[in-house]
Symmetry: C2
Subunit: 276 residues, 2 copies
């Protein structure tokens, strides 16, 4: 057993054949985030990189604004908890908790940020501009790094990249957790995410879009579909949203000026496979 | 625009070709559940079948136990709200709200049921026993009904079935919402879910498993992967959990006695595609 996987005997039925053999299963465990000795929330997640998860959660929920707001972060996987010390103990935690706004994500989520009120525009973030070839190449690298997905089939991936390649990468049973983990890793390592590119394996619902905006990330690339609300938010917030990235094929839903090259008039065909 | 989809102009890049053409996008909207004039929760969901969503949410979160607990249910899509009147206004809503337990689902979710404490065993539900051929046939019917997925690529599906076929079916941008909608539909229509089969297009995390247990559903079929926690819960609660159902291939993770036929010793090969 690792933090990410567990081996289980599984009955595999393949037409008329049945065999019981070991298979790798992705782990899921409850993990409590304790902020200054107060229990903030319990997440179900893949119990690896818990410091990243906690930092990213606090960031994308609007509880902390940057590295300076956080003191020590300490995770204990066996205890199923991450302790975060606030650098400024006078933060308005009570107020934040009262403003809980529940979002769906893939199902339903708890978000402290109301997507309807998200005001973190990245319009003033000028770039980057990317070519479709770069989009394809980043998505290829992204999928090659999805080791846990190839092993278990049970996780989503998230990555942060610049034109040179992927800078941070994470996988988790939770679509949002994976995004929080890469943002949290950047926060803790002092990597400025402004102007970077977010990659996700999953559907882009409004809450994923809001996370990108909080990180001041102007480009979101997904292998899967966006919702109409995420397209509207992306358009309003100045984010270039690209979905269904499959090789050299992709759909651009908003702020297409960041994708270099002008449209021609030839007819495209859409092919879909897999769920986000 | 329908309740489920919206048409948007999209820039489609197909290798060297670019074309701007209309595409169907799945809708996502915030919907408030108002229980006896109190705001209980706001979910982001595909705004169709909101009465089903509300009833299913209340059921799977342990807030109501059955049809008798609910009076009138009324949804207004434009308002983005569902009003539910409790049949017994002395329900301990305050207590329930205090016991909120946040779960991940695909990301993170709000669950009023602690999966670690789920005690709704279906061990005493004797059947049904199903053949692999029935599993394959139900999954085929399930996929054929996934109209919104074929149109938009941006939703998950859930269904309830018996040996005769699918009885309730739903699609939603949220993996958990889809499950709540079929359970809510059954609740409102007076269909007893005990002994039925739950189908899902998505990963089976612990919260999906708990929803099945609440509905006293002994068989869960998924096209995608389970987590180790959901396998453990399924084993403990008496649920037969079958994942990666692809044609006549499937993996049985727990309580395999409900899948008829004895294992042979021949070697199986696992093929994975798509994310849950």
């Amino acid at each position: 057993m690792t933090r990410e996987t567990r081996t289980k005997k599984v009955l595999k039925i393949r037409g008329g054949n049945r065999i019981r053999e070991p298979d790798l299963i992705v782990r899921e465990a409850p993990v409590a985030i304790i902020l200054d000795d107060e229990h903030l929330v319990t997440l179900l997640c893949t119990p690896a990189d818990l410091e990243h998860l906690a930092a990213g959660f606090l960031l994308t929920q609007g509880i902390v604004k940057g590295r300076d707001d956080i003191g020590r972060v300490y995770a204990d996987v066996r205890e199923g908890a991450v302790w975060v010390e606030s650098a400024s103990p006078d933060r308005p935690l009570e107020k934040v908790l009262k403003e809980r706004f529940v979002t769906s994500g893939c199902g339903r989520g708890l978000s402290f940020v109301d997507p309807g009120k998200a005001s973190t525009s990245v319009k003033e973030v000028p770039g980057p501009e990317v070519t479709p070839a770069l989009v394809a190449s980043l998505m290829k690298e992204f999928q090659e790094r999805s080791r846990l997905y190839r092993m278990t089939g049970g996780v989503h991936s998230a990555g942060l990249a610049d034109a040179g390649g992927i800078l941070a990468f994470s996988e988790d049973i939770g679509r949002h957790n994976a995004v929080d983990k890469v943002l949290g890793e950047s926060l803790l390592k002092g990597i400025d995410t402004e102007g970077l590119i977010l990659l996700t394996s999953g559907r882009v619902s409004s809450d994923v879009l809001v996370k990108a905006a909080v990180g001041r990330i102007p480009i979101v690339l997904s292998r899967a579909a966006p919702s109409d609300l995420s397209i509207k938010l992306a358009a309003d917030l100045g984010i270039t949203l690209v979905g269904f990235v499959r090789g050299s094929r992709m759909n651009v839903y908003s702020n297409e000026w960041r994708i270099t090259g002008a449209p021609t008039g030839k007819k495209g065909r859409t092919k879909r496979q897999g769920r986000g």
